[in-house]
């Protein structure tokens, strides 16, 4: 069995009486590409929020590279190597494209606030390294030309890609993408597919992907987990889940 980088075992979460996620398990190998699908309200985003520490599970165990993440705040999990994007884009809208990425570089800096106020050499060195690394990332995402624009003025597709660039700036081991193709046109979706492949090769991250677009999911992912009403109704290879009668029913049943 290959080493799992991100592991979840029997994770559950209820909101009041609603069991939003029930007994969720996942084993994502290093450099793996795993899909998480399901009808609206199935609990996919809630799984992301549980993994990244926005919510705390009522039961279950979550670990990254063998270290338990339970009880850690989101910023600690980011430091441990878990980065994400958001379904409803959450960029730092008033700040520039470059600053959005630079902020995500912050957690890997080591100089103190005093050294920033006195502009000590270590501060300058790290600031320069941040700029260089951020511009490299923007280059990869074709956003370098818009580095000084406000993030909110970018077209929708660019905003989605900027969110991915920002997440990568935290130097993650594992990247969680929540519906990155939402709102993109067919050409952008094709490009995104290539981009996700490229990200995995270049940055060596494992990727967990929520996506409604079956073309994107089935083509990209090695394994897929299907949620419905918080329950995992199928898990396996794309071919396997596609032919699973419970999956077909869940999707047809809700249309």
């Amino acid at each position: 069995m290959s080493e799992a980088i991100l592991q979840a075992r029997g994770v559950s979460k209820s909101f009041g009486g609603l069991r939003a996620v029930s007994e969720f398990s996942l084993s994502l190998p290093a450099r793996g590409l795993h899909g998480l699908i399901g009808p609206n309200g199935a609990g996919k985003t809630t799984v992301f929020n549980l993994l990244t520490g926005v919510y705390h599970p009522s039961e279950g165990e979550i670990s990254l590279a063998g270290e338990s993440l339970l009880g850690l705040k989101p910023h600690k999990r980011a430091a441990a190597g878990l980065a994400r994007t958001f379904q409803n884009i959450r960029l730092f809208a008033e700040l520039s494209v470059l600053d959005n990425v630079r902020i995500a570089c912050h957690l890997r800096t080591t100089h103190s606030m005093g050294s920033a106020i006195l502009r000590l050499p270590k501060h300058r060195r790290e600031e320069r390294a941040i700029v260089r690394r951020s511009m490299e990332l923007l280059e990869v995402f074709d956003l370098a030309g818009r580095a000084s624009e406000d993030a909110r003025n970018l077209p929708y597709g660019d905003q989605r890609r900027l969110e991915i660039a920002r997440a990568l700036a935290t130097e993650p081991k594992c990247l969680l993408l929540d519906e990155p193709a939402a709102g993109m046109n067919p050409q952008e979706k094709v490009d995104l597919r290539k981009l996700i492949h490229q990200i995995r090769e270049r940055f060596g991250v494992a990727i967990l992907l929520i996506e409604h677009d079956m073309g994107v999911v089935m083509n990209l992912c090695e394994r897929i987990t299907v949620l419905n009403f918080g329950q995992t109704i199928a898990a396996g290879t794309p071919e396997h889940v596609q032919s699973d009668p419970k999956v077909i029913e869940a999707y047809l049943g809700t249309e």
């Binding site: 008033e94 920033a116 000590l120 941040i130 690394r133």
Partner: protein
């Protein structure tokens, strides 16, 4: 950062660049005291002094309400604490050591300027020490207030800080009268002295050390710290919290920690401003200094300047200080005009004069050219 780093520039040159602005700050402050002060009348000089103190208050509150997007309503509370703490230190130390509370400053202290005095005296050293202690006490209190309340979301901070200011006011009201004879002061223990700061009558007798030198030194240092923070990785972390706290956490920003930091730094400078205020000729330090109205003044400056803009806060501090002068004939309507100005700004410039930007940022003025070219409706609310 784990990446290969570019070669370090010369240590000396970067140290010089790092400290140069502070040297310039001292220069500016000396010019204000030695060149400007003797050449203007006492009244405009007092206005310059008020502007300076308000700048320190507005710029420091900008770090909380502007950078991190928290809403603190108790800034005057920190100012009053700093003012009382430093006032008690200079007054009672002078009484103990010299047997009298008067200032023993040099050329750089006070508003009158002295012929034939030395540049700096032991009294100035005492004053500087008291300012810093006042700032530290305010910052410590900021930490105590901020740590629990900044963990809470939403408007709790506004309520807690509002309550904090009122508590400071009421506690100061309960203190005992100032000890006015050297004999009494010598008999009292160190721990008793801080309780003798005048109660609701106010703390009179604080030596008049404050002059344009000290105020503008404070202004410059506050500005340097604020700008350097804003343009550093820490400032970006602050701003990210204000933009989207959830995303900031997810990107590894320890939001609680930085909210507390911003709060503590702001409280420190408010404490310094308080010390400068309490040592000013003709100022009666009273518990009302901690009151809500004073906090409200500072909030108006920060909102007017544009929540997050340092130069905006400075501009607003100048405007708000001078406004009563311009409106001297209608002084009773000051609050109405304030309110009207705020409403008008919220309608026409909902993000304040400069928003989060600085005066010299090109984007600050983009709305002008947009209006001219007739494409004004852009950049609406985004969910």
């Amino acid at each position: 950062m784990s990446h290969e780093t570019p070669p370090t520039p010369g240590l000396v040159s970067s140290l010089v660049r790092g400290y140069m602005p502070f040297v310039v700050a001292v220069g500016v402050a000396i010019v204000m005291q030695v060149v400007v002060r003797p050449n203007v009348d006492p009244y405009p000089a007092k206005l310059l002094l008020d502007i300076g103190i308000n700048c320190i208050l507005a710029v420091s509150l900008t770090m909380v309400n502007g950078f991190t997007g928290q809403f603190s309503m108790g800034h005057a509370g920190f100012m009053a604490v700093g003012g009382y703490a430093s006032g008690a230190i200079t007054y009672y130390t002078s009484m103990r050591v010299w047997g009298a509370g008067e200032a023993r400053g040099g050329v750089l202290s006070g508003m009158l300027g002295g012929e034939g005095l030395p540049w700096l005296t032991v009294g100035d050293g005492l004053f500087l020490f008291s300012l810093i202690v006042g700032g530290v006490v305010a910052a410590g209190l900021g930490y105590l207030v901020g740590l629990p309340s900044l963990r809470l979301k939403g408007d709790y901070l506004a309520i807690v800080t509002l309550g904090f200011g009122e508590i400071v006011r009421v506690v100061i009201q309960q203190t005992s009268p100032v000890l006015t004879s050297a004999e009494e002061v010598r008999q009292a223990t160190i721990l008793q002295l801080p309780t003798h700061v005048g109660g609701s009558l106010g703390f009179s007798g604080i030596p008049y050390y404050t002059g344009l030198f000290w105020v503008y030194l404070g202004v410059c240092v506050t500005l340097i710290v604020a700008f350097r923070l804003k343009t550093s990785t820490f400032g970006r972390a602050f701003l990210s919290i204000r933009n989207d706290e959830i995303a900031a956490e997810a990107m590894g920003v320890n939001t609680t920690r930085y909210k507390v930091w911003a709060f503590v730094i702001a409280a420190f400078f408010a404490g310094i401003a308080g010390g400068l205020f309490s040592h000013t000729l003709g100022v009666g330090l009273s518990p009302e200094a901690a009151g809500f109205l004073r906090s409200f003044d500072v909030i108006i400056m920060v909102v007017l300047g544009g929540l997050g803009s340092i130069s905006g806060a400075v501009a607003a501090a100048i405007i708000v200080t001078l406004l009563p002068e311009w409106l001297r004939g209608v002084a009773e309507y000051r609050m109405i005009i304030y309110a009207l100005a705020l409403i008008l700004i919220m309608i026409f410039r909902p993000k304040g004069l400069f928003g989060v930007r600085e005066v010299w940022d090109r984007a600050t003025w983009a709305w002008l050219s947009r209006r001219k070219s007739g494409t004004g409706a852009r950049g609406g609310a985004r969910e």
